[in-house]
Amino acid sequence: MNIISIAYKNLKRKKIRSGLTIGGVAVAVAVLVSLLGFDKGYRQSLTSSIDKMGYQLLVTAKGCPYEAATMMLKGGGGLRYMEQDVYEKISSDSRIDKITPQLIATVYDPNKENGQGGFALYMGIADSYLTLKPWTKFKSGGWFSSETADEAIFGYEAAEFEQRLVGDKIFIPNINKVLTVVGIFERTGSQDDGTIFLPLKTTQTIFSLPDKLSGIGIKLKNLSDIAEFEESLYNEPSIQIISMSQVRGTILNLVSSAKVLANSIAVIAIFIAVIGVVNTILMSVFERTREIGVMKAIGASRMDIFKLIWTETILVCTFGGILGSILALLGSSVVEKIIKGVLPYAPSGQLVLIKPSLLLEALIGAIILGVVSGIYPAWRASSMIPVEAIRTGE
């Protein structure tokens, strides 16, 4: 006869009440697991998104840094343009390992968004683009035939979405241009997946942006040179320089204020769960006053009673922890969707990352919750005087 099975049978006596209390713990655990999972997942996918850009620094035309940071992650550079001679000037710097110019152009497409209209985005790139992202592979087709070809390469998702194959003709509205699809990239897990690429020179010509650039991506030979390198560009009047680590920090800052709110919700959920558990167990202790008195009369020690009630509490919380972990796992895709809708910037990849170790932590946390909230009810039960307890029930 073991104490866990007795405790379990006691909980089963009031199924609905025990169930609701377990549910309360489960919700608190699920909220907490989702939040912690989000913290891990977001950091990780943000870092990997940034790493996949291939460059550590981005030079853009002067503008609002926040707007620039967001725009750049959405496809590269604020939509202000700088002169191409800046690129020529910078690229001779010996500290640079790799450098690539890019030009983003947008065009209003009345057919976009199911006929509601929206901006289509094109990105002009040069041969050096691929040297910064050596992992990029073609799913089909290949690189532009020349620097001025009327051709386009689709990112994986862009091609899927528009159902494009190599050889298709695409029509750019407003400027009335027809381009041929020559290549489709493999999935990279970065913003490139959703982008349509054109040759840089072609972009400059067809969008009437001669000798303009929207951004220059730079990878240095030595990471430690970043500060010094940035400083050397400060006196260029028309440009600003953004480092990726700075972008990462800025975005994490934006997200962390939202996290404070979410964390306080989690704390409140846990607090309510603890109150629920203590309340339920105390109630069942008081209901069983006479029974506990009889147990003491027939030989249960204070410790026996304490252990029994304590075990009941810990069981409730353990079940809650298990249920909450399952809820968090099942609900993570829903939470992910909600978060993606709310965040100022959502990197691609899994935002809510729930690892087994996190679930284990949650379960241990729930058990600790039970250990703590069980102390008072267990103490109350164990200090009942048998004769009073027995007479109470009569």
């Binding site: 009369a297 027939i298 030989g299 005087i385």
Partner: protein, 224 residues
């Protein structure tokens, strides 16, 4: 002379209420020896339960002297009383007081578990057989009749092989037939095993079959 189970001198229990003090047990002198079958009778409120609770070391005494199994319990609080009570005294209650979520077998195992007795299961089955419930071991209390429940309670009280049994109105919730059955078990335990049994009861039939009858009135013994 046989060993004394209970020795009370000027035993008194006073309940202090706002308006008055109630002497539920008032200056009682009493001796009960090993092997006796004693019934305590008297009208409602005469102090039967109060006396039984003190003898069972469930309640502290107000004044006088009380020795249980040779231990002086005068002035002792619950933490000390539990040590005398455990394993030495078997309790039987009017409402059976089984744990409703546990089967007949488990109710007895629980007692053995508290007493840290090994081989709980086999001993529990044997005990249930002894009260004629070998075929009801896996029944929950609500699946048993009143008489069967009280027999489980007796088996539970016997589980730790106590020095004496205390029963407060054990047949109060039972019909004549079941009452007689309980009485027969008590008589058998007393005669065959020499077990000391102390019963508080309104039941004249039960009371009269005991070896000795103690009448209480207003907390005093009116005849032994």
């Amino acid at each position: 002379m046989s060993k004394l189970i209970v020795k009370a001198e000027n035993l008194t229990k006073t309940y202090k209420l706002l308006a008055e003090d109630i002497k539920a047990v008032n200056n009682i002198d009493l001796e009960i020896s090993s092997g006796e079958f004693v019934s305590i009778m008297g009208p409602s409120g005469s102090g039967k339960t109060t006396l039984l609770d003190m003898i069972g070391c469930l309640d502290s005494i107000t004044s006088g002297r009380l020795e249980i199994l040779g231990n002086d319990v005068s002035g002792k609080k619950e933490s000390k009383l539990v040590k005398i009570r455990r394993g030495n005294i078997g309790f039987i209650f009017q409402d059976f007081s089984l744990v409703p979520s546990l089967t007949a077998l488990e109710n007895i195992q629980l007692t053995l578990h508290f007493a840290a007795v090994k081989q709980e299961t086999q001993k529990s089955i044997d005990l249930l057989k002894r009260v004629g419930l070998g075929h009801r071991i896996n029944h929950l209390p609500r699946q048993l009749s009143g008489g069967e429940k009280q027999r489980v309670a007796i088996a539970r009280a016997l589980a730790t092989e106590p020095k004496f049994l205390l029963a407060d109105e054990p047949t109060g919730h039972l019909d004549t037939e079941n009452s007689q059955e309980i009485l027969n078990i008590f008589k058998q335990l007393n005669q065959e095993k020499g077990l000391t049994i102390i019963v508080a009861t309104h039941d004249a039939e039960l009371g009269s079959q005991a070896g000795r009858i103690i009448y209480l009135k207003d907390g005093k013994i009116v005849s032994k």
